[in-house]
Amino acid sequence: MLFGLRKWPLWRHYLVERVNDAEWTRLLEECYARVLRALIGACGSREAAEDGLQDALAAAWKPGIRDDIERPDAWLYRAGLRAIRRSRWRLRREVRIGEDRAVAASPSLDRVFALELLMKLSTRQRELVLARFFLDLSYAEIAAQWSITVGTATSTVSQALAKLRNDLQKEEAGWTSKTV
């Protein structure tokens, strides 16, 4: 694996990228769809999630970034969440990708059961639940990405599970999921 070795001194990153552009494009393409879906789940809005992903991708292409990324999907997800929070830039982003939206109309997210479920959680719980159960990050990876302890990550997810317990049991008992 090319990532996480960090054997090169820092100044080398300013001169040469260890992972070439083609390889980096392939790695990003492999995970972008999962990350976008996770971002949709985290913020409940396709538009905001697309903007967040695009900002995260722009950040991922900056020099010296890619060599320090352990897991591109986790990094993109976290960077996308940060971008979504920067709501003051929302207007600029909407202008930027407005034309793309016109090309392909966004499907509605109104009746997706998973989104209804996630909206019952706090923002942090939602982000960590998606990282754990949708992106399959380990608690250690979550702790590293969010700069929290493993115990905090575990307890946050446990609290989220407790909140969702009844809904999940009803779902299993025969609720019809409302997918698009």
Binding site: Y14, R37, F133
Partner: protein, 217 residues
Amino acid sequence: MDEQDRLVLEQRLADVLRRDLGSLSVRPFAMYNESARILSVQPVHPLQRLLSIAGTAVAVVLLIGAALGAAVALRELRSGGPPANPGASATVSPSPSSTPSTTPISTPSPSPSAVQSPAPTAIGFVLPAGCSYVGSPVVGTDQTQWQFRCGSAADTNARGALAPAFTQQGWVSCGAGLANATWAKGTNRLIVSEGSGAPGEYPKLSQPRPGIATACP
């Protein structure tokens, strides 16, 4: 919740998320990636990167130098410069309790050109050691007035506290009136007025403009 319940819930939640979120359609990768690459930095030659780093370092050094220079200049401005009369016992240094930026510092030189503080100072007179100006002077059309203090005991007898300094600096008494005393030196006059004793009220030192000074016997 026991471990078994937790595992079941985790599995169920993962299934729901994969089923519902996994069914959401996404646009092609190129649609996001191409504009993202345009937004990110253009390809930069390694030499340009090095020059950029060097330029940033130079800018930081210049900024630090400018900040240090400004700090030194400000410090000198606030301190009012070095004392002008190191040998005289009447040299007044700003009191720690007074505001340095607003307290006028009188100089022993009779020449106004020797005044270093922007606030006007009493011409030809320096407060004795232990006394200091309070606040900014009040500049009127006919006179300039300062408040000063020499300690709680001396403030009740300002005329007596300043009399030795006046004499030492060549001033001649024009006499004392009701709670004030007038001193003359050439065409300059200084009037010492006792304070009322109320809190925040200090003795005053007034200097009429030379042209409108009264005659001194």
